[in-house]
């Protein structure tokens, strides 16, 4: 087969994209403390350190609390907004939707500093809760974008048919609409979760005394001794992400197969 320049480009692109991720586990199992070749020997010490580290455990717990809350909140808000924007007409709709989607393009540092000013002004103490608020603000536009696609592909007469057959508006939503947009809801929840989990700037500004995973990792990067452990942590996160994405994709495809809908692209 001819090795065309286009194929070469694609190959380099993939190397550029994935080489750092491949290096993570390599150094996570390397017994040397310096991140450099040649490798010294195999060890599980860094993983032992990782699981013994209580500050890290707390940071992880905080991050999971924030990410799960953000995921639920932004997806719930996203469902309402996507439903409103695909199903109803009301004055000022374009303007309202535009404003909701604006955080997509606002620099995070602007969001973080303005939120900080507002929270301090109203006298709300900085905590995990304020981080959740900030992350929800950031993740909701993404959730709406994903859910809008799911809602707008619904045939409106499905709703009318259920209503016509004696169901109420609420039971129609529960029995017909919700099951059909479930793949979209899964995608949205997963995306919001990921956005929140690795978000640094807003978390750093709004967490007060609390620590989240990215804040902890960033703080440890200053200590070269800690870097192999961070590599081990990174390895765990990569594995967890792959498992999570694969699970979500499995459910999404199963949902598609059940309704016979056309696959319009998922994560994998």
């Amino acid at each position: 087969m001819k090795f065309s320049s286009l194929k070469g480009y694609a190959f380099l692109y993939l190397v550029f994209l994935y080489a750092p991720i491949v290096l993570l586990p390599v150094f996570a199992f390397n017994s040397g403390t310096i991140i450099a070749f040649p490798l010294k020997g195999f060890t599980l010490d860094w993983f032992r350190d990782l699981f013994a580290n209580q500050t890290l455990g707390l940071a992880l717990k905080n991050s999971l609390i924030i990410a799960v809350s953000t995921s639920i909140l932004s997806t719930t808000l996203g469902v309402f907004a996507a439903r409103a924007s695909t199903r109803f007409k009301f004055p000022g709709k374009t303007g309202v939707m535009g404003l909701i989607m604006l955080p997509l393009v606002l620099p995070e540092i602007i969001i973080a500093s303005s939120l900080l000013v507002v929270l301090l002004a109203v006298g709300m103490p900085l905590s995990l809760f304020t981080v959740i608020l900030g992350h929800t603000l950031m993740a909701t536009p993404y959730a709406i974008a994903v859910l809008n696609a799911a809602f707008s592909s619904l045939d409106r007469s499905l709703e009318e048919a259920a209503y016509d057959l004696g169901e109420t508006k609420w039971s129609t939503f529960r029995l017909i609409i919700l099951p059909l947009v479930t793949p979209g809801i899964i995608s949205s929840a997963l995306m919001s979760f990921t956005i929140s989990l690795d978000e640094f700037i807003v978390a750093f500004s709004l967490a007060g005394k609390e620590t989240t995973l990215p804040i902890y990792i960033f703080s440890q990067l200053r200590f070269p001794k800690q870097i192999p452990m961070i590599m081990a942590l990174g390895t765990c996160l990569v594995v967890a992400s792959i498992v999570l994405l694969a699970t979500a994709e499995y459910f999404r495809r199963r949902g598609l197969a059940k309704t016979g809908a056309k696959d319009t692209g998922g994560f994998l």
Binding site: L158, E160, A161, D164, L165, G166, E167, K258, G260
Partner: protein
């Protein structure tokens, strides 16, 4: 085919009123979608709303279902005013243009969807579902995934799902438009039979005039939010009340006419190519679209005469201008002597009778009784 439907049943006028429209108006902002619709649909009637897209026929259907509020007037079903009744409380069910089959449910779950609030036992409901499926020719399909069905099968599921609730009125929004020709024609006949079997009032929306003629007891032809003519298929076809209705239903030939006078219930005319003759007042009640009167006649009311054949009534000399062969039929465009615009004549092809060539001189048999005068 409409006779097949209308046969052996009580005459329409003696039946109870099922749906009544009283001066129904509907505005979308400034747009006047329904302009004072008044009509009565009788119990057990197969009624069609026919018109081009944007004429308000679907809007009118949706006011029966309750999906559209009306701006003024009243819609009554079985004598009851429906203005405060939500779609889920109305004695109507609908078959949607897209069929609206719930893709995440099986065929059986789709058909039984409306029975969720029914107090009957599970076994009784399952039996009702099976009966409904059998009625539409899908016996044994209950466990299948609904999304795997063909267009025609979805259509049947939608019918079974609507009919299982035994509504007083079944509403059909362009139910056959997504099917290909063969299946559509088959479904037309099946729908007629089904309607007679269940005896429920059917209201059908269609833009297909042939479909309306085939299936309906009566048809309301709509243009721009108004009913232009409400009549049985034969009256609509033979005696359209305006040039616009005549144009919309089937093919009609038009020739300019000159009115010479009126006397004793007859109108004397002179028409280029046909000469002088008279028509009855009844034939002369249709409206023209312009100021000039025209006579109209259907392609099958004229006959091309072969050598040695005699006209029963009148004949006119003509030249064949165009021939379109359809197998069972041949359409001839012929120019009557003294008229520039050709008229279309349809002839059934008979064994042993040749199809004529373009340019052949011929004679055309016609009868004044088959004409309509638009003035």
């Amino acid at each position: 085919m409409s006779q097949l439907n209308a046969a052996a049943r009580a005459p329409l006028d003696s039946r109870a009123k099922m749906i009544e429209f009283h001066e129904v108006h509907k505005y979308y902002g400034d747009y006047h979608a329904l302009r004072g619709i008044s009509a009565t649909i009788r119990e057990g009637e197969f009624f069609s709303l026919l018109g081009p897209s944007g004429c308000g026929k679907t809007t009118l259907l949706r006011t029966i279902a309750g999906f559209e509020d009306i701006s003024s007037g009243a819609v009554l079903i079985d004598g009851k005013d429906m203005s405060d009744v939500a779609p889920n409380k109305r004695p109507t069910n609908m078959v949607f243009q897209s069929y609206a089959i719930f893709p995440h449910l099986t065929v059986g779950e789709n058909v039984g969807f409306g029975l969720r609030r029914d107090p009957r036992s599970k076994a009784e409901k399952a039996k009702a579902v099976e009966e409904a499926l059998e009625m539409v020719g899908l016996k044994g399909y209950g466990a299948r995934a609904a999304h795997a069905l063909s267009g025609g099968q979805r259509q049947r599921v939608a019918l079974a799902r609507a009919l299982i609730l035994k509504p007083k009125v079944l509403l059909l929004d362009e139910p056959l438009s997504a099917l290909d020709k063969k299946i559509r024609e088959q479904m037309q006949v099946e729908l007629i039979k089904l309607q007679r079997e269940v005896g429920i009032t059917f209201v059908l929306v269609t833009h297909d005039q042939e479909e309306a003629l085939v299936m309906s007891d009566r048809i309301a032809v709509m243009f721009e939010g108004e009913i232009a003519q409400l009549a049985d298929p034969e009256t609509l076809y033979r005696r359209p009340n305006s040039r616009r209705v005549a144009d919309f239903i089937g093919v009609m030939n038009f020739l300019p006419a000159q009115i010479l006078g009126e006397a004793a219930g007859h109108v004397q005319l002179e028409v280029g190519g046909l000469g002088r003759f008279e028509v009855t007042e009844e034939q002369a009640s249709a409206r023209a679209s312009g100021a000039e009167p025209v006579v109209g006649f259907r392609p099958e009311t004229l006959t091309i005469l072969y050598e040695g054949q005699q006209a029963h009534d009148r004949e006119a000399p003509a030249t064949i201008d165009e021939v379109v062969y359809y197998g069972d039929m041949t359409y001839y465009d012929v120019k009557l002597d003294g008229v520039d615009a050709p008229v279309r004549i349809s002839m059934r092809n008979v064994f042993g009778r040749p199809v004529l060539d373009v340019g052949t001189r011929t004679r055309v048999a016609w009868s004044a009784g088959a004409l309509v005068l638009f003035r």
